[in-house]
């Protein structure tokens, strides 16, 4: 069981790490898709099928497309897909800070007493999730819906070209 988890983790982390270092943005985005698929595999491993499907739909399907579009829309020429290499100073400081966080987190996880809790695997069916979403968490669901709508509208407004000619809409 642990071997599967370690394999999933290695694939995910490897893909993510390489994606963060590549200079070609398209390759980065494709590797991140692999990484997100790895996270989805982790959810499947943990028994949260619904979340795994949601992850695939939202990240592997939707977010990746948005990223690819953003990459394609923000290049200067047809072949401009690589970015200039970053300054070594920033990379160094990033590694120091990230490494410190990593050390702290690892230390905390390893130092914490986490005995093998023999709790049974929680089973949660889609029906239960649906009932909970529409019952106990109905308010949250509504709010999330509103957030998504507002965010999408906002994204369109932000990304759309400035309308200079239309004077009657701006008071």
């Amino acid at each position: 069981m642990n071997a599967v988890l370690i394999a999933i983790a290695l694939v995910t982390l490897g893909a993510a790490a390489v994606a963060m270092t590549l200079r070609n943005l398209i390759h980065s985005a494709l590797l991140l898709i692999a990484s997100w698929a790895g996270v989805a595999a982790f959810y499947l491993w943990a028994g949260a099928e619904f979340v795994a499907f949601a992850e695939v739909l939202v990240y592997v399907g939707a977010v990746s497309m948005v990223v690819l579009f953003a990459v394609l829309l923000t290049r200067r020429s047809r072949d401009d897909l690589t970015v200039a290499s970053d300054s070594a100073r920033r990379a160094f400081s990033g590694f120091i800070t990230g490494g410190a966080v990593c050390g702290v987190l690892f230390g905390a996880v390893i130092a914490s007493p986490m005995g093998v809790m023999s709790s049974p695997t929680p089973t949660v069916t889609v029906r239960q999730i649906g009932t909970q979403l529409m019952g106990t968490h109905a308010a949250s669901l509504l709010i999330v819906g509103v957030i998504l709508t507002v965010a999408l509208l906002g994204a369109i407004v932000i990304a759309s070209a400035d309308r200079k000619d239309n004077s009657e809409d701006t008071p």
């Binding site: 099928e49 920033r90 400081s93 990033g94 800070t97 990230g98 410190a100 966080v101 702290v104 987190l105 230390g107 905390a108 130092a111 069916t125 889609v126 029906r127 239960q128 008071p171």
Partner: protein
């Protein structure tokens, strides 16, 4: 050869899928790897299919299934599965065999294309999806594969996407079949709602098994129809779209814009066969209402009449086409109509027999046409071809065999026996004899237009530079032709009335009961006479006096200019749809636009003015009363703000770094014991 157990049936569609993945991942230069993987996968799938056939024939009456839960949904679960019975096994063997030959043919045909690697990737995806349709034991799995077939056909028809016609044809094919798929989806949902299952066979609980069907026929849906009738007709909608039946046939001739191997794959072995296969698969559901006397309409009656209309219409239009591939496309429409007709009159076995023979000889004809087009440098107009019989001997011989099989030349060719089975079944149908007459008329027309096609393409003298310099195609292209030609002859003997082995196996009978050939000999004689009539008329008009120039008039068009022009314009279906459906659509869009622009916009503007007015009132009160006191306070606040704003460096990296470092410090403080 040992059999293939039903649990391992998924391997058959999985192998081409793997080949497609390999094709997708190889770089553009690795085309031989992609092609090799595709052909190897199809070849192995073919061997596995043969294994499956062995298993299925050992127990022809059994529907071996292997089901598994896909998705847990509270108390119930979505279940998928594989199904192995003679129908599935025969289809698998046919698809993989014809598919392999078409793949090999593509090696030669796509030799010069720089995107050949993509082509093999798409072909493999297509084959995989089609095999998925065939082995599915669940309407849901079938639907998923069905849509994948649609997607792959979109990619393949539009493969030469730099040609605007190809791009338009791909869109048209996709959208037209989607209209039918909507019906299939609705039928599927309704079926799930009323039975709680989408498995075909499930140890007594599947939707095609007796108790479920009994429950479905017992309920009446709207309009006094039995539930099974309505659901069956909705599912039939999907088949109408996919199999190019009237009135959704318009996409099929346009799909000729794709490379010719694609036309062969789509129009012979796979996509169009999927619809016929679907109806044959759900035949128990379609025919469940036959026993009911009180219903106004039997689902199968609709199927029979749609099939008859399609058969006759396709044959009529094919008479007036001049593009070699379009003639074949409309002949496919017509032949598919025959198959639907056969299912409608209650003989799905005859339909599947015709499907199998048609797959071989139509693939042969398309590949032969591809060989001609390849040799004549993409000249497709039969008026500009001609004189190829001496230059391309193998292509001519095999094409002629395919033509005779399609025309139904008696006794030796497979098309004769399968068509005979359909006409026989139509003869025995007790509801109406109209489909039979339509079928018989189409027999004459089929023989006629195929004679015309061969006479114009291969005889006479070369009427253009391209056909003058034609040469025989390479062995990768002629070898599949020869193999298919042999099959186009040999396959017929599996299902003659004297030894109906195929029919018996499909029906699940262990023994083969032959009839005398003399049984129904009257009908057979009639159809032989009709074939002879068609061939004779075609020869008299086009063969006796061969066309001299590519611009000389068509003898038939000279006699009936109006009729032929109407048929050449494909009975104006595209124009009809443009005048009705498209107009309606754009009218609805205009209406929505007007509603948006004037009604809703007006409401919003009114609310905005209201808000503006409130704001003005507010400001008046503000400026007079409250402002003075705040001015002084805000001056001192501004000083503090200036001091703080130094921290706002505007560097997002810096902010993130500070957050991270702050987090580290915080955790360290907590861990060092400060957290108590």
């Amino acid at each position: 050869m040992t059999g293939l157990a039903v649990q391992n049936l998924w391997l058959i569609p999985a192998l081409p899928l793997v080949a497609a993945a390999i094709g997708a991942l190889t770089p553009r230069t690795g085309r031989s790897l992609a092609a090799g993987a595709a052909i190897a996968a199809m070849g192995v799938s073919f061997l596995l299919s043969c294994g499956a056939l062995v298993t299925a024939l050992a127990h022809p009456a059994a529907h071996a299934v292997s089901n598994f839960a896909w998705f847990d949904l509270g108390a119930s679960a979505f279940r998928l599965g594989w199904l192995l019975d003679p129908l599935t096994a025969f289809m698998c063997v046919m698809v993989t065999f014809v598919g392999t030959l078409i793949f090999i043919f593509s090696l030669g045909y796509m030799h010069e294309d720089v995107n050949a690697k993509q082509f093999f990737c798409f072909l493999s995806l297509f084959a995989s999806a089609m095999l998925g349709v065939v082995v599915a034991n669940s309407l849901l799995l079938l639907f998923v594969s069905w849509e994948l077939v649609g997607l792959a056909s979109y990619l393949l028809i539009g493969f030469w996407f730099h040609k605007p016609e190809a791009a338009a044809a791909a869109k048209k094919a996709f959208i037209t079949t989607r209209i039918g798929d909507l019906g299939l989806l609705l039928g599927m949902l309704w079926l799930y709602d009323s039975t709680g299952s989408l498995l075909f066979f499930d140890g007594g609980n599947g939707v095609l098994e007796a108790n479920t069907l009994g429950a479905l026929t017992a309920h009446t849906a709207l309009g006094g129809f039995a539930l099974s009738t309505v659901i069956g007709l909705l599912i039939f909608c999907g088949a109408v779209g996919k199999s190019g039946q009237f009135p959704l046939h318009v996409w099929l001739p346009d799909a000729m814009e794709g490379p010719t191997p694609v036309s062969a794959l789509i129009h012979a072995a796979t996509m169009v066969a999927a619809g016929v296969f679907l109806i044959a698969r759900v035949y128990p559901l379609m025919s469940a209402d036959q026993a009911l006397a009180h219903t106004a309409l039997h689902a199968l009656t609709v199927v029979a009449f749609i099939g008859a209309i399609t058969a006759l219409m396709g044959a009529l239009i094919a008479v007036a086409q001049n593009d070699i591939k379009r003639v074949l496309a409309f002949s496919t429409v017509s032949q598919l109509g025959y198959m639907m007709l056969a299912i409608g009159v209650g003989s799905w076995v005859a339909a599947i027999f015709h499907l199998l023979t048609h797959a071989f000889f139509k693939a042969l004809l398309f590949l032969g046409a591809g060989s001609v087009i390849h040799a004549a440098h993409h000249e497709q107009d039969i008026r500009s071809l001609g004189g190829l019989s001496k230059k391309m001997k193998v292509t001519f011989a095999t094409f002629a065999i395919g033509m005779m099989a399609l025309a139904g030349v008696p006794f030796l060719f497979s098309g004769f026996w399968s068509k005979e089975g359909i006409l026989h079944a139509a003869h025995e149908w007790d509801v109406s004899h109209l489909p039979l007459y339509a079928g018989l008329a189409a027999v004459v027309l089929t023989a006629f237009y195929m004679t015309r096609l061969v006479a114009e393409t291969f005889f006479g003298k070369a009427r253009s530079h391209a056909s003058d310099h034609a040469h025989e195609s390479p062995a990768t292209m002629t070898l599949p032709l020869v193999i298919l030609a042999i099959c186009a002859i040999a396959l017929g003997f599996l299902g003659t009335p004297a030894f109906p082995w195929l029919q018996a196996k499909l029906l699940g009978e262990a023994e083969v009961h032959g009839h005398s050939l003399l049984e129904g000999a009257g009908l057979m004689m009639l159809s032989i006479v009709l074939v002879a009539l068609g061939l004779g008329a075609g020869w008299a008009l086009y063969g006796r006096k061969l066309r001299q120039k590519s611009t000389s008039p068509d003898p038939l068009a000279a006699a009936f200019p109006g009729v032929i022009a109407f048929l050449a314009a494909r009975m104006k279906f595209d124009e009809l749809y443009a005048a009705t459906v498209f107009k309606l659509n754009s009218a609805a869009a205009t209406f929505a636009d007007v509603l948006d622009r004037f009604v809703w916009d007006g409401v919003i503007r009114f609310l905005a003015r209201l808000g503006e007015f409130a704001g003005i009132v507010n400001r008046e009160a503000d400026e007079d009363g409250l402002n003075a006191g705040f001015d002084a306070g805000s001056k001192s606040l501004r000083g503090t703000g200036n001091a703080y704003s130094r921290a706002q460096t505007g560097d997002a990296h810096g902010y993130l770094r500070v957050i991270a470092i702050g987090f580290v410090v915080l955790v360290l403080v907590v861990m060092m014991g400060g957290g108590r």
